[in-house]
């Protein structure tokens, strides 16, 4: 303990989940050098993640927020719940990818380490109460995902995806840094709470330079969340990256982006709510339009799901636009539901990939209901959920977001969002139509594995359970996030 520095070993206590995750990644990297098959590495990563989750629940940050490292880091309910989403994301991704990476001949041990490191970055982002910590976590997440996107070294599209993601990601990081420097220039601090206090004390909420800083910071976040017009990378990267990585990227970085967006906007720029709401509303409307309408013309299922994830980002954004704690809760609830249904849908895409068969085209889904009724039924559940049809979880997610919008007197936005969800039903249900109403004579093999079965069972079960009986989870989110 030392008063001069102000940091002691006690500061590491709220950081234990991150430490566990980072150690898991490092040990997995070492393990990979010793063992030939990658099964033990994957199993170890799952084990490490479970330990980290247990440690986080034991720390009890949900009830008593613990801040550390000179108020640069906090473990509170908000961060904790996002971390749970990241853990679920990591475990499900590992489960669906083990067999798939072997089929793609890209079964490297680094894959599991990189997934773990990316998760560590997301966790730091969710806990960051200082713009510098936030940037650190963002870069750790981003650099790991750039490599993951290009993991299929012999596939041109995978390389292209990695390069595109890297260049545009570097641009967005530059935007973030510029925004941080402008904010620092106007307020003299990078701590979120102190930024908020300075804005109020100096009464500079209307200052144009501070506003510019806010716009730059939001641009960087919009890029990570893939909001239009910053979504251009998403379809190409999602299509080119290995499907399991796409599943991981479409949930993890998006959730982390929402975590920092929520914290920065509400904690640091709470007094500029009118301004940022006015930016977010057109962004959300444009994203909805682009996501739902462009997806109509996609015949590659990964591209279609990419545009679908763009559209879903806009629905989640509506909870932030509502501008109330309850609105943010509805966004987080939506993210949890989205995690299960999106990874489930990608798991089916992976299921169709077998040796010598890509299974990425809409045509590959012809007659799936006859050849593999169970796979088709699961895809049906996930597509219904992504559309938002009761009794699936997707409906509950949308319902609460729209309800909070109406409570916040933004009914017109809810009406437009419902209209766009109706449009999006076309391309989700088209997959169902192909599976159930079209015939195919070519034989099809699907690549099952025990871990894949577990992941599919969990995702499908959660999608249905959360759709029928969402109260406990919703209340849990409410109490956890806002006491």
């Amino acid at each position: 303990m030392n008063t001069e520095v102000g940091i002691s070993l006690r500061d590491a206590i709220p950081f234990i989940p991150e430490l566990v995750i980072i150690c898991t990644g490092l040990i997995a990297m070492m393990l990979d050098l010793v063992v030939r098959k990658k099964g033990p590495v994957a199993a170890f990563v799952v084990f490490g993640t479970l330990v980290a989750g247990y440690a986080m629940c034991k720390l009890n940050g949900f009830n008593e927020p613990q801040s550390a490292f000179l108020n640069m880091f906090i473990l509170d309910g908000y961060a904790g719940f996002f971390k749970l989403i990241f853990f679920i994301n990591l475990i499900l991704t590992v489960c669906i990818s083990y067999r798939y990476m072997i089929i793609e001949k890209s079964s490297y041990g680094e894959y599991y380490s990189l997934l773990t490191f990316a998760t560590a970055g997301m966790m730091v982002m969710a806990s960051a109460t200082d713009l510098i910590t936030l940037y650190l976590g963002l870069e750790l997440m981003a650099l790991s995902t750039y490599i993951l996107a290009g993991l299929m070294r012999n596939d041109r599209r995978s390389n292209e995806a990695a390069l595109k993601y890297f260049f545009l990601g570097a641009f967005s990081s530059a935007f973030l840094l510029y925004g941080i420097s402008l904010t620092y220039g106007m307020t003299g601090t990078t701590n979120l709470n102190e930024i908020s206090a300075t804005i109020q004390n100096l009464n500079i909420a209307g200052n144009p330079i501070l506003f510019l800083g806010l716009i730059f910071i939001m641009t960087a976040f919009a890029f990570k969340i893939a909001l239009a017009p910053f979504h251009m990378w998403a379809p190409d990267v999602y299509e080119g990256a290995p499907t399991s990585v796409t599943a991981f990227m479409s949930v993890g970085p998006k959730a982390a982006g929402f975590a920092v967006l929520g914290r920065v906007l509400f904690e640091a720029f709470g007094s500029m709510q009118v301004q940022w709401t006015n930016i977010l509303i057109p962004l959300a409307l444009l994203t909805m339009a682009v996501g739902s309408i462009v997806a109509l013309s996609q015949t590659n299922i990964k591209r279609m799901l990419a545009y679908s994830s763009v559209a879903h980002a806009s629905y989640m954004l509506l909870g932030v636009i509502a501008g109330t704690p309850a609105g943010l809760v509805s966004t987080i609830n939506y993210l949890l539901i989205y995690t299960f249904m999106n990874i489930g849908a990608f798991a089916i895409v992976i299921l169709l990939r077998s040796e010598g068969f890509q299974g990425q085209d809409l045509d590959d889904y012809r007659g799936l209901a006859k050849s593999n009724p169970l796979a088709a039924a699961l895809m049906l559940v996930f597509m219904f959920s992504l559309t938002g049809i009761p009794p699936t979880a997707g409906f509950i997610g949308k319902f609460y977001v729209f309800m909070e919008l109406i409570n916040a007197d933004k009914t017109y936005l809810a009406v437009i969002a419902v209209a766009f969800s109706a449009i999006s039903a076309f391309f989700y249900l088209r997959v169902v139509m192909y599976m159930y109403m079209k015939d195919s004579d070519e034989p099809r093999t699907i690549s099952c594995s025990p871990s894949m079965n577990v992941a599919l069972a969990v995702t499908a079960l959660m999608v249905i359970v959360l759709g029928i009986y969402p109260e406990p989870v919703l209340n849990y989110v409410k109490t956890v996030v806002f006491g």
């Binding site: 303990m1 030392n2 001069e4 520095v5 070993l9 590491a12 490092l26 601090t189």
Partner: protein, 129 residues
């Protein structure tokens, strides 16, 4: 941090004033040297003056040749340990104040780099062929 407020809504980050003054002075010195030289020096151009080495041989070929990409990996690995040394020096100097926390932190940092070192070694990044 000491913040002086000039008027409501703005402030001057006074700590950065020396930096601004240094930037101003150094650019003035640089520009001044060029301008004074331009005004004072005699102007007698002839062809030899344009050679890269006025009293040597004219260079043959383009100096920008592509060289082995493996150097890139070596350079990257070098940077990692270079940065480690950069962190170790201030840590060693401030060790007395940092105490046990600083020690644990630095050990963690070194272990992380060590794992990376073992990894690249085992993967054969140090083998030239």
């Amino acid at each position: 941090m000491c913040i002086k407020y000039a008027m409501p809504g703005t402030y001057i980050p006074i700590n950065y004033l020396p930096v601004a003054i240094i930037m101003l002075i150094s650019s003035l010195i640089g520009l001044g040297a060029l301008v004074v030289g331009l005004l004072v020096r005699p102007r007698r151009p002839y062809a030899q003056k344009l050679y890269p080495y006025e009293s040597g041989n004219p260079p043959i070929g383009d100096p920008r040749v592509p060289f082995n990409v493996k150097f890139y990996i070596v350079a990257m690995l070098f940077v990692v340990f270079d940065v480690e040394a950069v962190f170790l020096y201030p840590w060693a100097v401030a060790y007395g104040q940092l105490g046990i926390f600083g020690f644990v932190e630095m050990m963690l940092f070194i272990v992380v780099l060590l794992v990376g070192y073992i990894y690249v070694w085992k993967k054969g990044a140090f083998n030239w062929e």
